[in-house]
């Protein structure tokens, strides 16, 4: 199975990177784009055919390493091969 994990800053936490990208977009004329937030996409393959078990592994990996629960939220999806 393939897993795609999105890690993003929690709502309410200032994202100076997103703000800077937002300003740059405005300078380029994209004035209707707002509230830019920048996050991370992490992809990996997981050797597990049972979806439930795969979810558990991903949850565990997110909590232990991929996201920092103090400042970040995560979400994920899996694709069967």
């Amino acid at each position: 199975m393939k897993a795609k994990i999105q890690v993003r800053l929690k709502n309410g936490i200032l994202d100076p990177q997103g703000k800077t990208v937002n300003n740059a977009l405005h300078h380029l004329g994209f004035e209707n784009i707002n509230h830019v937030r920048v996050g991370k996409l992490i992809e990996f393959e997981i050797e597990e055919s049972d979806r439930k078990k795969a979810f558990q592994v991903i949850e565990d990996a997110c909590k232990k390493l991929l996201a920092n629960p103090v400042i970040e939220d995560y979400s994920y999806e899996v694709e069967e091969d």
Partner: protein, 226 residues
């Protein structure tokens, strides 16, 4: 006291700290490789500044799982001295030994300059040679030093006097223009509840000789060994 300075791949302030503790302060120091697994001979350890494991994923996130870190956690639980400077502070928050997190600087730039910090609590192992309110001039050098903590935990941190240093003006005022990285509540350094683990972004080991601009960092290092 016997000190160990932990060396991760990517540490770059390990030799500065070794020099400060050994040559300037005259203390017993040894390097400890990140794959070592014992701290039995030591009374205190330092997690130095740098870019451990290239700061991949998040600063300090990978170093946290190095073999020696498991031992550092046990060492801290025994009440021994643990000092994390800059990247070391990031490792300590990632490992849960200290609360909060360190994020990208407010202005997104890497900042390398001398700043002023105010001593908020001098009743600790790390600050006993300082006066309360004493202002130190110490360099910072980081891209991810904006301290973040949620309001409930900030309240706890404040009530327990865990905030040791705050960024301030040369006269000791808390003013936004003197908060170099946008840290919450101007926080530059904190201790754990038990008072044996200190994490701070400024580099005391780079401020130990007047010849290079300041020796204010000596107070802190000498407090620990006294």
């Amino acid at each position: 006291m016997k000190f160990g300075v932990i060396v991760f791949p990517g540490s770059n302030c390990d030799h500065d700290m070794y020099y400060a503790l050994k040559t300037v302060i005259g203390n017993n120091v040894k390097f400890i490789w990140h794959q070592d697994t014992s701290l039995a001979d030591f009374d205190g350890v330092v997690l130095p500044g740098g870019f451990s494991y290239g700061d991949y994923l998040r600063a300090g996130a990978i170093a946290r799982f190095s073999p020696i870190l498991q031992e550092v956690v046990r060492f801290a639980e025994k009440g021994k001295i643990v000092l994390g400077i800059c990247n070391g502070f990031q490792v300590l928050t990632e490992s849960g030994l200290l609360p909060g997190a360190l994020m990208r600087n407010q202005n997104l730039r890497f900042i390398c300059k001398h700043v002023y910090i105010r001593t908020e609590n001098n009743q600790t192992t790390f600050t006993k040679m300082l006066k309360k309110g004493q202002i130190l001039r110490i360099p910072i050098a980081h891209g991810e030093g904006k301290y973040y903590i949620d309001d409930d935990n900030l309240k706890r941190l404040t009530e327990n006097n865990q905030i040791l240093f705050r960024y301030c003006s040369p006269l000791g005022k808390l003013e936004n223009e003197h908060n170099p990285n946008g840290s919450k509540s101007f926080i530059a350094g904190i201790i754990n509840r038990e008072g044996n683990v200190l994490g701070m972004m400024p580099h005391p080991e780079r401020a130990v000789e007047l010849l290079i601009g300041s020796n204010d960092g000596r107070y802190l290092l000498e407090s620990i060994i006294t």
